[in-house]
């Protein structure tokens, strides 16, 4: 039994069948990649996992509990964190504040009216945030406005924020999209390092094969809303169905 | 003396803490007998009129009248109504020998803003009397403030029964007529002109003044045999009255009574005419429109539509009596156009106040109030007038007017149809429309 079990999930948008009949099982502490051409339903699937979309059919179980019908923040509190394609951070806040918020969320839950104590006196939270920033090489930028950082640093910050919550499952939605090769490699190294240091399950949706094959332990190929094949990277590389799906895409493009 | 807004007292040197600069001349000595007792050679009056908002023009005209009154009290200009006023104690040397000065403020036609403005006049400028305003809500609010503060309030344009009815106050006085008087004066003329067998449809501004006027007119017309088909409240904020006018077409009403004032009146009347109500024939009679409270300034906004419409007004510049002529002459000479009824009532109120002070020999609000109560006078444009002691309302003739068919100028919009004698508009102080309040006792403040 994997930590994440997706069974028979389907989703329609009007006349478009975005997800057909998706089955997916992600083993605990593995790195699992979902790949597929544009429009294959990768993002829709991801959105079904985090509560942004509710599938029309099927079930999504995380650690034995259904996530369906829960809101994104509830699912997050269950232990699923999400990294977005374009970094979603608190642009108006400093890096330090950005880091503290997930620490609060982890300690206080979805809501706490903590209105009198000052942020400065929350030493426990500050220490955690500091430690995380040290860990992620963000400490020097702690007073910077998050919005004024480079794209790579924003990505780093977003991942750091997710990790600060100590999630059991980290979902990455095309984490290197639009990045230069050097930044992409940095991100790969960062994710490898993360995986080394802690027990965490990572699901990564990616376009870039280089990233996928550097990181993934298992790969699911999605095409037209249904899983085409699932296997270890070595097997996927030469798989005829995968070639067909991608070549088909190339031909169509 | 718990009832005071300001206690102007002496502060001990110690309390200021290190007031080492204390010199004998620093402190005023002795408490005043009443709020803002004038010291020195001047006395300050507070003119609180709408300078912004829909009644700003009326406010501007009121202010012109006040400035004229101040001139006349100080012995400048031609003296205006001072020459025709039946009481002759004012000598043109200010009030009790003190030169009259004034401060002005903006009521914005909002109770809050009007009170703020009046308070600043009392607290900051030392005004001994507050006057002005162009709506009843403001008049009532400022009147109660003056009662608490211990100064006299001489109401400006306020037509609601409540001002001298359930909201009357010992320190407040109204010269302007009221809704009951409009009804009492208008009804006989309506009956005479349009007959006693009429069916009336009322559109009424949905706030206190509108309701008291509707109540008054309904009572007065029904007493003469009219039937009230329907009374409909319209929102104050309404700008387009078409959806209130069209239902009139569906009834068998043959008279439309517009209990509206200001912009509401202009728009509802214009709309009614647009919908052809005036050409309509119902029950074999010509359909008629009545505007119980006319304002010439506002009537201009309705242009041709006022022609032939009956209504009532407190005063009109075309009156031929000596007092009116004197006032129109000095106002017209100074400003180039005739005064409005709002200007008239404000001018008269200022003179009446000054006269009462002079007769009482004191600025003390209680003495002034006593001098005004039951005061009978003449020569102020409305014929013999009584300031009734029981409710501080002036009783005088009321004008019934009609929109003029062939105006000779932009000011010549109304013609006086009838001067309803005072006896016909007088009511008992405990009349049910005025019941519920009490004057209380006068408050001189500190």
């Amino acid at each position: 039994m994997g930590i994440l079990e997706v069974k028979n999930v389907g989703k329609r948008f009007g006349g478009l069948q975005a997800l057909g009949d998706v089955n997916l099982s992600v083993a605990e502490n593995s790195v699992h990649a979902i790949i597929g051409p544009n429009g294959a339903g990768k993002s829709t699937l991801l959105n079904c996992l985090v509560g942004k979309l509710i599938p029309d059919s099927g079930s999504v179980m995380f650690d034995g509990q259904s996530v369906l019908g829960r809101t994104p923040y509830e699912i997050n509190q269950m232990g699923i964190s999400r990294v977005f394609q374009t970094p979603e951070i608190f642009g108006d806040l400093t890096v330090m504040e950005n880091m503290m918020i997930p620490c609060f969320a982890r300690r206080d839950g979805a809501f706490k009216l903590n209105g009198i104590k000052s942020v400065e006196s929350e030493t426990e939270i500050r220490d955690r945030a500091e430690a995380m920033m040290e860990d992620m090489n963000l400490a020097e930028k702690r007073h910077m406005h998050a919005a004024s950082m480079s794209r790579g640093d924003k990505r780093r910050l977003e991942i750091a924020m997710c990790l600060a919550q100590e999630p059991r499952l980290l979902l990455l939605d095309e984490p290197t999209a639009g990045m230069a090769r050097a930044d992409t490699n940095n991100t790969i190294d960062l994710l490898k390092e993360i995986k080394q240091k802690r027990d965490i399950t990572i699901v990564i949706i990616e376009h870039d094969m280089h990233v996928v094959f550097s990181l993934a332990e298992r790969i699911t190929v999605l095409a037209q809303g249904t899983p085409l094949v699932e296997d270890v990277p070595e097997k996927i590389k030469g798989h005829p169905k995968v070639r067909e799906a991608y070549l088909g895409e190339t031909a169509a493009a | 003396m718990t009832n005071k807004l300001t206690r102007r007292g002496l502060l001990k040197t110690g309390a200021v803490g290190g007031a080492g600069l204390a010199l004998p001349t620093i402190f005023t000595t002795g408490a005043h007998a009443f709020t803002n007792e004038p010291s020195g050679g001047t006395v300050t009056l507070g003119f609180n009129v709408p300078q912004s908002g829909p009644y700003a023009d009326e406010g501007a005209d009121e202010l012109r009248a006040y400035m004229l009154a101040v001139e006349h009290l100080n012995g400048e200009g031609d003296g205006g109504m001072l020459n025709t006023f039946s009481s002759k104690v004012l000598e043109g040397n200010g009030i009790l020998g003190k030169k009259v000065e004034y401060v002005t403020g903006d009521t914005q036609t909002k109770s809050d803003a009007a009170r703020a403005s009046a308070k600043s006049m009392i607290e900051k400028d030392g005004a001994i009397m507050i006057t002005g305003g162009s709506s009843s809500g403001v008049a009532v609010a400022v009147q109660s403030l003056c009662q608490e503060a211990g100064v006299i309030f001489m109401a400006g344009l306020t037509h609601s029964n409540d001002t001298t009815g359930k909201d009357k106050k010992a320190n407040g006085f109204r010269h302007f007529f009221n809704a009951y008087m409009s009804g009492a004066a208008l009804a006989p003329v309506l009956a005479k002109t349009y007959g006693t067998d009429r069916k009336a449809y009322h559109l009424t501004a949905d706030y206190t003044w509108g309701w008291t006027q509707e109540e008054s007119i309904v009572a007065a017309t029904e007493a003469l045999g009219w039937e009230t088909v329907q009374t409909v409240k319209t929102p104050l904020s309404a700008t387009d009255f078409s959806s209130y006018i069209t239902p009139v077409l569906q009834t068998d009403a043959d008279v439309l009574i517009l209990n509206h004032y200001g912009g509401n009146m202009v728009n509802s009347l214009t709309n009614a005419v647009q919908f052809g109500l005036r050409e309509k024939v119902v029950n074999g009679k010509n359909f008629e429109i009545v505007v119980p409270l006319f304002s010439r300034l506002m009537a201009r906004g309705a242009g041709e539509n006022v022609k032939g419409i009956l209504g009532s007004t407190n005063w009109h510049w075309s009156l031929q009596d000596e007092g009116s002529q004197a006032f129109v002459k000095s106002f017209g000479t100074k400003y180039g156009f005739p005064p409005s009824q709002a200007a008239h009532t404000c001018y008269v109120q200022t003179l009446l106040y000054a006269d009462a002070v002079a007769r009482a020999g004191s600025f003390n609000p209680c003495a002034v109030g006593e001098a005004l109560e039951g005061f009978e006078f003449d020569g102020m444009g409305n014929g013999p007038t009584l300031y009734r002691a029981e409710d501080h309302q002036c009783f005088k003739d009321v004008l019934v007017v009609r929109g003029k068919e062939n105006p000779t100028s932009e000011f010549d919009l109304l013609e006086v149809v009838e001067v309803t004698p005072v006896g016909q508009v007088t009511y008992a102080p405990d009349h049910p429309m005025f019941a519920g309040g009490a004057l209380g006792s006068c408050n001189p403040g500190a």
Partner: protein, 400 residues
């Protein structure tokens, strides 16, 4: 000090000094001088400064922190005033129960309106709040007249039952609002040379509450709760995916800010026991929005400055009339005097709105951060360095 860092403690100290010495600071000109027109140190206006200061500080807790632009905040001030006046009519002339009730009622009202309106964001939220407030105003003005006394406003009468207290005083007047016997409207006057200074009980009580309100606002700004609110403004999506439920955060901010408005309304009624329906009109809601933006949304002191600025113009400039202008310039040759007066009279007296409108445009064009930015620029001119953290903490980036 008081759990504040040095900078905030200094700011609070400065505000406290300003509040305590306002009767002196606002009356810089001798009472008989021509410039006395500009004196603002009389009880009513000083009370208004602090009461609208409280209102704006509370509004800023919502708008400045979360970016939710409520266009109906005056409704809470209005219900606060009505509650307080009813308390005076029915219970006692002591201001404490009145103010408490006004905060509670305003809070409940805010809970209801906030719960519904916060289902939407951005301009949809603004219009929902506007709709609720306009409904309240219009009903209060007309059909709810039995409760609100409509056009005139709810006031005390000589027939109020008043359970704990007298219906009327011995000499037939209406009793006065008080704090355990200390009359709100009583004023001590100090004449010092040509200067007149007025010390009013009500003002000092309202001033004390402003300091409390301001202190609480600083604490909220600096608290994790305040940080969460700024995070809501910055990125709601990230909030949700960080396991945080934004709705209770925004609702709590809305209710707290509604209670501030209720406090302001209760205080207004305590200073002057009348509650007018216009207090709830959209123009009144718009006014607090303008105060906050003008002063500097999201800053601590900005809303107080904005409130003072607008109230000053409303009360001081509107009272300068032609006669006053002539008295200022009468030393000049007649032609010049008339010319100057003719120009200036457009901007004062009945033209005070024009001046205010022009100043809105000038301030927002040249001082994007509001009056606070003006202060900061002045500060920089005198070479004070700015702390980076302070800048981020009080930054003025209103909602987009």
């Amino acid at each position: 000090m008081l759990g504040l860092n040095k900078k905030d403690a200094t700011l609070l100290g400065v505000v406290a000094v300003l509040v305590i010495f306002a009767p002196f600071i606002l009356n810089p000109f001798p009472a008989d001088s021509a410039m006395a027109q500009f004196n603002a140190g009389y009880p009513d206006l000083m009370q208004r400064f602090v009461i609208f200061g409280i209102f704006a500080v509370g509004f800023n807790l919502l708008f400045g922190l979360t970016g939710y632009l409520s266009f109906g905040h005056a409704a809470f001030l209005g219900v606060g005033s009505y509650s307080a006046v009813w308390m005076f009519k029915l219970l006692s002339m002591n201001v404490i129960p009145a103010i408490l009730l006004s905060m509670v009622i305003a809070g409940l009202f805010a809970l209801l309106i906030g719960f519904i309106s916060l289902r939407r964001t951005g301009i949809y939220f603004s219009i929902l709040t506007l709709a609720f407030a306009e409904m309240s105003f219009r009903l209060a003005y007309s059909v709810l007249t039995p409760i609100t006394n409509g056009e005139t406003g709810l006031q005390l009468t000589l027939e109020d039952p008043r359970i704990l207290g007298q219906t009327a005083t011995e000499n037939g007047g209406i009793p006065v609002t008080n704090l355990f016997g200390l009359e709100m409207r009583s004023t001590e006057v100090l004449n010092l040379g040509g200067w007149t200074f007025q010390f009013n009980n009500g003002y000092y009580m309202a001033g004390a509450l402003l300091l409390v309100a301001f202190y609480i606002s600083i604490r909220i700004f600096r608290s994790p709760f305040g940080m969460m609110l700024r995070a809501v403004k910055s990125n709601q999506q990230r909030m949700n995916y960080t396991g945080l439920n934004t709705k209770p955060y925004t609702l709590a901010a809305f209710v707290i800010s509604g209670m501030y408005a209720g406090l302001a309304g209760g205080l207004m009624a305590s200073m002057d026991p009348l509650a007018g329906a216009e207090r709830m009109q959209w123009t009144a809601s718009g006014e607090v929005v303008l105060m906050t933006i003008l002063g500097g949304a999201g800053t601590l002191i900005g809303p107080v400055l904005g409130a003072g600025f607008i109230k000053y113009f409303e009360n001081i400039f509107s009272k300068i009339n032609e006669a006053v202008l002539h008295s200022w310039f009468h030393a000049l040759p007649d032609g010049l005097e008339n010319a100057i007066v003719w120009v200036l009279e457009h901007f004062v007296g009945s033209g005070w709105h024009l001046t205010l409108g022009l100043l809105f445009m000038l301030v927002v064009t040249f001082l994007p951060g509001g009056l606070v930015e003006g202060g900061q620029r002045l500060g920089r001119l005198f070479g004070r360095k700015k702390d980076a953290e302070e800048k981020t903490a009080t930054q003025s980036t209103p909602a987009e």
